[in-house]
């Protein structure tokens, strides 16, 4: 929006003044004091923005009238007509809405400023301008809100450090708790160790109880031993003696019994044998040098002869009778033999020698047979029988050859035959007897006596044989007994050694008996022979002490175990950790809410800064740069409560500004705000705002205003010729100059 012309019909001291062809860029209205600069400016500003102020210069008057012709940026021409206190838009034109929305204070401070308005930064740092440009509406509280958030947030956690604030204090408390819990859960290992220790202690106490009982007994025994010292010494001596005895094989009582039995048996056998020998020798005396075996071997024959004794007597009597009869009938036919017993022998001498030879051979064979074997004996007997038969047949045949033919003769012959037969038989019997007698060597007598003698001797021979057998049995018995004895004692190295050992065993037994008698006597007194010395046995006090040590430790271990099981502390630590974690979570959440609130607020500020603040700030920055020849730039952020200028690395808040710098900054800001305040930018009217600037600053300000005039209409009212000249110079004469005549106020 640009003012093309101003017509004042009546205002203050002005009457019917026109200001045409105002520059759409920069117009300098120069005039000395009282030339009417302020009146012109006031007319423009209170027409463009009707004022509610009562006090103003020039004072309001009902006759105030005039007109301002404006071109909007949209190309619309507006005629603002002032009539007294009213301003109206002529011909249906409308002042842009931005103007109507501005408050007077803002308008005056930003768009129509005097040096006083310039220095009033309140309009920028508070109120609507701040809300709209320096900060958005509602943003005026952002610093305090952000501060309160930051304050609360930093109670929870420092943005840089990990210490000192609630959250990290809680974290470290939890860490401590973790450590304490880890320590307390190492009681699990402790518990296992304690469990093992408890097992050891319990069995230790049980053992100790057993030992204690045993020691008590031993102690009693040891005391007895002390009191039975002499017995013990004797016992010890006996034990030594017993120990010194040969350790060779001992002869046991059984062995001794065996030995005695064997000895008795041997001597019994010997006695028996002696008796048998005496009996045998007595028995042998009956045979007067004859061989008893002959009688025994001929006992059969002898029995036969005994059996024939009766026949022999009968035959002898017959022969006697027949010999008498024969001698009466025929003397001399048969000469009677003197003796009946001899007749047989005599008769034999007349017989053929062959049968006798055969008989002898047979007998010899029979005898040899007895010696050599039963077959030969049988053969021998057979041969003898043949011989005997032949002899007997010859004896019969002879009488038969001499048989008489007459009856007397016949009777004589018959008797003779009978006699011959009797004699034959007798002779045969005698021969048998002779043979037996010859073989046995008996002294001879009559047939009957010889046979009786033979029979007697045969009986004795049988007895003798029995005696001899018994003697032989006794001999064998003795031999067996002796060999048993020898075998027995040989185990001990012979009888002599046995006897020696037996003697030693006896001594040992005696010692053992004495030792055991002594032990028994000591034992019955309650003394334990194997007991040690009382000094070697732990004392009762020792045992009690050890027991109480173990019991104390067991008690300690048990209570530590039960303390672990019932460890309220460990549980309490876990509870504390859990509630600590909950607290930490609560804190963390609150901190997160605060952090995000700060983040959101900053994001909002950034975005607002991005979308609107930059134009103001960028412009202000450019203007301050122009004004200060680039020495200063503007640093501004919604979150900064103060406006800060930067020179190099030096940031200066308002309190460090010189008044000149302060004026420059404020002018820059107001110019920037004026530029950005609305789309339809109203002209900016400056009433000698550079008056207090030094020459350099004036030049800078001129440059800045010329820059601003590129974008909006600037009307600089000044009474300062230097400013006018500088502006002319800086604008290279392009700035429109209006000089108010002093004569025309």
């Amino acid at each position: 929006m640009r003012i093309r012309s101003v017509r004042i019909d009546s205002f203050g001291a002005f009457r019917n003044r026109r200001f045409d062809d105002l520059d759409p860029g920069l117009t300098v209205i120069y005039g000395k004091n009282e030339a009417g600069k302020t009146t012109l400016m006031e007319f423009i500003r209170c027409t463009l923005f009707p004022s509610q102020r009562r006090k103003r210069y020039p004072a309001p008057s009902k006759s105030d009238s005039g007109m301002i012709l404006l071109d909007t940026d949209a190309g619309e021409r507006i005629e603002l007509v002032r009539d007294g206190g009213n301003v109206r838009e002529a011909d249906g034109g409308r002042l842009p809405a931005e103007m109507t929305h501005l408050d007077e204070c803002t308008y005056r401070s930003v768009f129509a400023m005097t040096p006083d308005d310039l220095r009033d930064s309140g309009v920028i740092s508070s109120g609507d301008i701040r809300r709209r440009f320096v900060i958005v509406p509602g943003g005026d509280s952002i610093q305090s809100v952000l501060k309160s958030i930051e304050d609360e947030r930093s109670e929870y956690m420092s943005p840089e450090k990990r210490t000192g604030r609630k959250i990290h204090a809680k974290i470290s408390e939890l860490k401590d708790l973790d450590e304490r819990i880890a320590e307390s859960s190492s009681v699990g290992t402790d518990y296992s160790d304690l469990f093992a220790r408890k097992t050891i202690l319990e069995s230790g106490i049980t053992e100790l109880g057993k030992d204690s009982a045993a020691y008590s007994e031993q102690r009693k025994a040891a005391n007895l031993r002390a009191s039975q010292e002499s017995n013990v010494r004797k016992l010890s001596a006996l034990r030594d003696e017993r120990e010194s005895l040969s350790a060779s094989e001992a002869v046991m009582p059984d062995d001794k019994g065996t030995y005695s039995g064997l000895k008795t048996r041997v001597s019994g056998c010997r006695k028996d044998l002696d008796a048998r020998i005496a009996i045998e020798s007595e028995s042998a005396g009956c045979f007067s040098g004859m061989d008893p075996d002959r009688f025994r071997s001929l006992s059969g024959k002898i029995k036969e002869l005994v059996g024939k004794t009766g026949e022999y007597s009968e035959l002898n009597r017959r022969r006697e009778a027949l010999s008498g009869s024969v001698r009466i009938g025929q003397d001399g036919i048969a000469k009677p033999s003197g003796d009946a017993d001899d007749s047989g022998a005599h008769a034999g001498s007349r017989r053929s020698p062959v049968p006798f030879l055969i008989l002898s051979i047979g007998m010899a064979m029979a005898f040899a047979g007895i010696l050599a074997g039963i077959y030969l004996a049988a053969a021998g007997l057979a041969v003898s029988a043949v011989g005997l038969l032949l002899i007997l047949r010859k004896g019969k045949a002879a009488p038969r050859a001499s048989v008489a033919s007459d009856p007397a003769d016949e009777r004589i012959r018959t008797d003779r035959d009978a006699l011959a037969d009797a004699e034959g038989k007798l002779s045969s019997m005698r021969k048998e007897l002779d043979e037996v007698a010859g073989m046995t060597g008996i002294p001879r007598s009559s047939f009957r006596e010889d046979v009786a003698f033979l029979s007697d001797m045969a009986g004795k021979a049988a007895d003798h044989e029995r005696v001899r057998r018994e003697r032989s049995d006794s001999e064998r018995e003795l031999k067996n007994a002796e060999s048993d004895l020898t075998a027995f004692v040989s185990r001990f190295g012979g009888e002599e050694r046995f006897l020696e050992l037996e003697k030693q065993s006896g001594i040992r037994r005696e010692l053992d008996a004495r030792i055991s008698a002594l032990e028994e006597s000591i034992r019955t007194s309650g003394y334990e022979p194997s007991a040690g010395s009382p000094a070697d046995i732990p004392s009762e006090a020792d045992m009690d002490r050890r027991n109480s040590e173990l019991s104390r430790e067991l008690g300690d271990v048990s209570s530590r175990m039960s303390a672990i099981v019932n460890d309220a502390d460990a549980e309490a630590l876990l509870d504390r950790r859990a509630s600590g974690r909950s607290e930490l979570e609560g804190m963390a959440r609150r901190w997160a809410v605060l952090s995000l609130a700060a983040r959101i607020a900053n994001d909002a500020c950034d975005s607002i800064y991005e979308s609107s603040a930059p134009d103001v700030v960028r412009s202000a920055d450019r203007y301050i740069g122009l004004m200060t020849g680039g020495r200063y730039s503007l640093f501004n952020d919604l979150r900064e409560s103060d406006i800060v200028v930067v020179s190099g690395d030096d940031r200066k808040r308002e309190d460090r500004w010189s008044s000149g710098l302060g004026d420059q900054v404020k002018l820059s800001l107001k110019m920037a705000v004026a530029r950005e305040l609305s789309q339809e930018r109203p002209p900016i009217l400056l009433d000698d705002v550079l008056l207090m600037f030094d020459s350099d600053r004036k030049r800078g300000a001129c440059r800045a205003l010329l820059d601003l005039a590129e974008d909006m209409q600037v009307m600089l009212f000044t009474c300062d010729a230097e400013t006018r000249d500088l502006m002319e110079e800086e604008s290279s004469g392009k700035a429109r100059m209006i000089v108010l005549d002093a004569a025309c106020p």
Partner: protein, 397 residues
């Protein structure tokens, strides 16, 4: 005839774990809350005894790794002793360490699975029943533990394992497995643990997460407990969930629109169960917004004493009668703030976390925000925005 028996399935006991998300620092409350998990397990033992269950399976995370004390172990061991029936435990990512096995041994009725697969054959009233299981080898494992468990045909098999089923969670560090991995393995009941929210993922075979036995923070709201599984003739006949929690967490949403404080309290009271711990999300427009924002603690106390509940947290998503949206149109700082808050609220999760934790020292608490849901994070932005608006308006008079 197949097996006829009953068993109890529970998981994620987290004994000793302290509750989180309670802003009040009341020691007694903390103690009572910590005890409530024990109380819940004791009620599960009671349940096993009253139901004459034949066995119990526990699918991991009996203890809370960092809160396992001798005392918790001791107390659990005593409860198992009281249980008396065979009990099979597969360890999870929180209790894999097997502390104090020797010094505080479990009673003889308890079997803790090894990290290698194990198979235990039982005879229940003449029918064979097989319990398969394996424990977590370490805090994290990407191994699919479940696929190593195969049942025997013709035998009722229960597989006990702590794992992360893809349909329930995307955790790849906690023995991940797919539902298809669990089918056709001759297992009739997959007793799973790890996910704290109860769910029956499949039937025949049954694939069940019983959830944890006690809610531990505001996100674990609703009833918590154990399953009683009835097997009849070798088939799962019933699965009955029995709540045993000592303390109920409730999520309650309320609206201030057109209400004064009493109206708000009565709306909350209509949902809140006395004795429960409630986390509130309050929405709506109204004059109450200003009052709540000025003195939330007093409001919380009033809600608590009127409803008989513990108020664990209140998220305010309220606004004054005039909407922030209205403010956005204004050409002033408030509108700038609304626009800036909208921009921050629209940031991605990571950017938002960075926006919150932009200073070096704040790295120490970033994990707290990383653990929050998107909704919680946005509520911080909203609170920040409201705080600014209030303060600016207050300062501007």
């Amino acid at each position: 005839m197949g097996a006829d028996f009953k068993f109890i399935h529970c998981a994620d006991l987290h004994l000793g774990r302290r509750f989180s998300g309670i802003s009040k620092t009341d020691g007694d409350l903390g103690r009572r809350l910590a005890d409530s998990a024990f109380g819940s397990f004791d009620r599960i033992v009671d349940l096993a005894l009253s139901e004459k269950a034949d066995l119990m399976v526990i699918s991991g995370d009996v203890f809370d790794e960092e809160n396992e004390t001798v005392s918790t172990r001791f107390r659990f061991s005593k409860s198992l002793e009281r249980l008396g029936i065979p009990c099979f435990i597969a360890l999870g990512n929180h209790d894999f360490k097997r502390s104090w096995e020797e010094s505080i041994p479990y009673p003889d009725n308890v079997h803790v699975f090894q990290p290698a697969p194990e198979r235990i054959l039982m005879d229940i009233r003449g029918s064979p029943v097989e319990i398969l299981g394996r424990s977590f080898p370490s805090k994290h494992t990407s191994e699919n533990l479940a696929v190593s468990l195969d049942g025997s045909p013709g035998v009722f098999s229960v597989a006990v394992v702590h794992c992360s089923l893809e349909t329930a969670s995307k955790d790849s560090d906690y023995a991940p497995c797919g539902l298809s991995d669990l089918l056709n393995r001759d297992v009739e009941y997959w007793a799973l643990g790890h996910i704290h929210k109860r769910s029956e993922e499949h039937r025949f075979p049954h694939v069940v997460y019983p959830g944890n036995i006690q809610g531990m923070d505001p996100s674990e709201s609703g009833e918590k407990g154990a399953y009683v599984v009835t097997v009849s003739n070798g088939k799962v006949a019933r699965t009955d969930f029995v709540p045993t929690q000592g303390i109920l967490w409730q999520d309650i949403r309320a609206d201030i629109s057109g209400k004064d404080l009493n109206g708000l309290i009565s709306e909350i009271g209509s949902e809140a169960r006395p004795g429960s711990v409630i986390s509130l999300m309050i929405r709506g427009k109204g004059d109450l917004d200003r009052m709540l924002r000025l003195d939330l603690d007093s409001a919380s106390d009033a809600i608590s004493s009127s409803t008989g509940c513990i108020v664990s947290s209140i998220v305010l998503a309220t606004s004054p009668e005039s909407d922030l949206g209205d403010l956005a149109g204004r050409n002033d700082l408030i509108s700038g703030i609304v626009a800036a808050a909208d921009r921050i609220s629209g940031l991605g999760r990571d950017e938002l976390l960075d926006a919150i934790c932009s200073t070096k020292p704040s790295a120490d608490i970033k994990h707290i925000f990383a653990g929050m849901s998107d909704e919680e994070l946005r509520s911080i932005v909203y609170d920040a925005e409201m705080l600014l608006v209030e303060r600016i308006e207050e300062a501007s008079g």
